[in-house]
Symmetry: C2
């Protein structure tokens, strides 16, 4: 904080810049993470991107680690919790079908998939990201399994089928250049038939 007041008096930021919120820093960090890698997510890089002083970062965050934790928290909020809220009031079979369709949601899905792949790459090397990824995978699998339970499948069956649904979603993102659009729709339909079959 001391750093910022010194720097700010030397190079006063325009009013708009001084109104940056933690969310702006988190969004900028997520962009850099997606387009480069976790190593590139550094305070000096972000300050340059946002066109503010490096010191102003410390008004909002204790340190880089604090920022990274909140990047992961934001990912978790948007990627999982919003999906769950969105699907909450629909019948289980429809929820499963909508999950299978998520990878087809154009630009939004591709952007989300790029961010997620960057976080999985980061999770290979960082305990913080690894823990976040494992928690999200586990939450999503449990949520999808719950849909199958509501359809009357046993807990074991529900888990196996949830793994297939979730795995399919991960794969459509990871292998999105494989196959024509028609083939991608056909395999989605195949997975749907398969997981809903009694």
């Amino acid at each position: 904080m001391r750093t910022i007041s010194t720097e700010a008096s030397e190079v006063p930021a325009p009013p708009a810049k001084s109104q940056l919120t933690p969310a702006d820093w988190i969004a900028a960090a997520t962009h850099v993470l997606r387009d480069k890698s976790i190593d590139a997510v550094r305070v000096d890089v972000l300050a340059k991107v946002l066109n503010v002083t490096r010191g102003s970062f410390y008004w909002h965050f204790k340190d880089r680690n604090d920022l990274l934790e909140r990047v992961l928290q934001r990912w978790r909020d948007t990627a999982t919790e919003q999906i769950i809220q969105r699907f909450e009031k629909k019948p289980p079979e429809q929820r499963i079908c909508e999950f299978l369709t998520l990878p087809f949601h154009g630009q939004t899905a591709q952007n989300a998939a790029s961010i997620e792949l960057a976080i999985r790459a980061w999770a290979r090397r960082g305990a913080l990201a690894r823990q976040a990824v494992e928690t999200i995978d586990s939450d999503r699998l449990a949520y999808i399994a719950q849909c199958f339970s509501e359809l009357g499948f046993s807990p074991e069956e529900a888990k196996m089928r949830a793994f297939l649904v979730y795995g399919y979603m991960v794969n459509e993102s990871l292998l999105r250049t494989q196959g024509s659009e028609q083939e991608r729709y056909a395999r989605r339909a195949f997975v749907e038939r398969t997981v809903l079959a009694r």
Copy 2:
């Protein structure tokens, strides 16, 4: 090459070191890639790991890019071609089952999966790696589809089922902390029943 003769005369390497082959450099690069990331795969880093002069690298490789191409080539050779050779003489149904069992092959599978995930992470940012990953994914999918074709499935059915088999393999690696060992075996068996069902 000039660099190495100068450096070698200053700090003569022990005989064993001078016998380093391109394969040693490629193996060292793959290790660093797996444990860190593509950014850490630099000639100076590898020379230190191998305890040789930086210049000796240029006896074997034109530049860093040349090394990276051969890292990808080696990955492709070991990851795909050896598997295909290994399974070639078995009946198609057995080949499919063995594919589904691959993620369970303990340490070897985990090491291969770690290398592959590092390469997928690299593919997010590098055209060279992206092309290699797309080619391998496409080759493997075609190979697995071929097994289903031999079992009498139509080309469309064969492709959809191959996507499920391959996707399942990718997922067992990516989501390997999800579920108990028993659950992992159960979902493998479920995928097997599912993809072989008429």
